[in-house]
């Protein structure tokens, strides 16, 4: 089973550091995950795996800064841990994958966590700080999430049709 960690188009040092720790690997292995893919963006400096093989607990790791085909990893993942960017969250939710969103408090706006809180309250995903990821995985609560409704953007088309045909 694969866990896909993605930080999006910038970097997220705290998240990348957290997923390189021995306790993170142990909790992955305990829950049956054998593969980890980390898209670390500009946080390559903190992407440092444990030195000894035993500290990986049998989990094989792939790390890269960016990929042209994030969909491939999303499709193959059994769990997605993503920075709390709207695009990443929606990709995970629409792919029907359990997701843990991690807000990045270093980024300017606090509103990243607003969307996480709303979606977590509705049980569509889990929210976690980098330091709480191990607990989130150990709890297994990512297996109890509610499926996310399909998107229907047709009302936008209808609004455009109404406005563009209105007599001025």
């Amino acid at each position: 089973m694969l866990v896909y960690v993605t930080v999006g188009s910038t970097g997220f040092d705290a998240l990348v550091s957290a997923v390189c720790r021995k306790d993170f690997f142990q909790s992955l292995a305990d829950r049956g995950f054998r593969k980890l893919a980390v898209q670390y963006g500009s946080s390559d400096g903190v992407f440092e795996l444990p030195k000894t093989a035993s500290e990986l607990f049998g989990v094989s790791v792939e790390g890269f800064d960016y990929t042209r085909w994030p969909q491939r990893y999303v499709e193959q993942a059994d769990l997605i841990i993503c920075h709390a960017g709207t695009g990443s969250i929606l990709e995970a939710l629409h792919a029907g994958k359990p997701a843990i969103a991690v807000p990045n408090h270093e980024l300017m706006d606090g509103h990243q966590s607003e969307i996480c809180q709303e979606l977590a309250a509705a049980e569509y995903l889990l929210v976690s700080e980098p330091g709480q990821l191990v607990d989130a995985i150990d709890s297994g609560r990512y297996l109890e999430l509610v499926p996310y409704p399909h998107a229907d953007p047709r009302p936008i088309g209808e609004i455009l049709d109404e406005e563009s045909s209105r007599k001025k």
Binding site: T86, L90, I115, D152, P153, I156, G157, L160, E163, K168
Partner: protein, 161 residues
């Protein structure tokens, strides 16, 4: 925007002008991917790349010139393509685009309706673009109901994305 456009009839809107920030390569990719799905002639769509009005850290005095350059570029694009409707979702330059699109209406020449859709990430407060365009747009859509309290003229539509 790519997600919102899934709901728009590209046969009806068979000429599409995408206005993107000059440095925004991600949007260029997305537009390419979105349009590639269409079984049509590539001439149906144009991408117009607009310079930023001000770079982070740029001095305010030189920002006057770059803002004018941005404004000129937007005017050129909008008046050349003469759109029938504008759809925007809040990136930096969209306020300038909408302001320019209102000019023909101001002079009684042509009414170009403006439809604004606030970002899905905006749960409790509007973006700066949203706060400005609330008073300029003909239709103002929000994706979370809590915003209706402070912005009662907005339309709440869930599950657009």
């Amino acid at each position: 925007m790519a997600r919102l456009l899934q709901g728009v009839d590209f046969d009806r809107y068979n000429q599409r002008l995408y206005i993107v920030g000059e440095s925004d390569m991600l949007s260029l990719d997305r537009i390419g991917a979105l349009e590639a799905k269409r079984d049509h002639m590539a001439e149906e769509y144009t991408v117009s790349r607009i310079p930023r009005s001000r770079e982070v850290g740029q001095s305010w005095s030189s920002a006057v010139f770059s803002s004018l350059s941005c404004l000129f570029s937007v005017c050129q694009t909008v008046f050349q393509h003469n759109p029938d409707v504008v759809l925007c979702n809040g990136p930096g330059n969209c306020v300038i685009v909408c302001a320019v699109a209102l000019i023909p209406r101001f002079f009684g020449l042509k009414c170009i309706p403006i439809v604004y859709v606030e970002s899905f990430a905006r749960v409790r407060s509007l973006s700066l673009s949203g706060k400005l365009l609330y008073y300029m747009a003909d239709r103002f859509v929000v994706q979370w109901p809590g915003l209706l309290q402070k912005y009662p003229s907005a339309e709440f539509i869930p599950h657009l994305v």
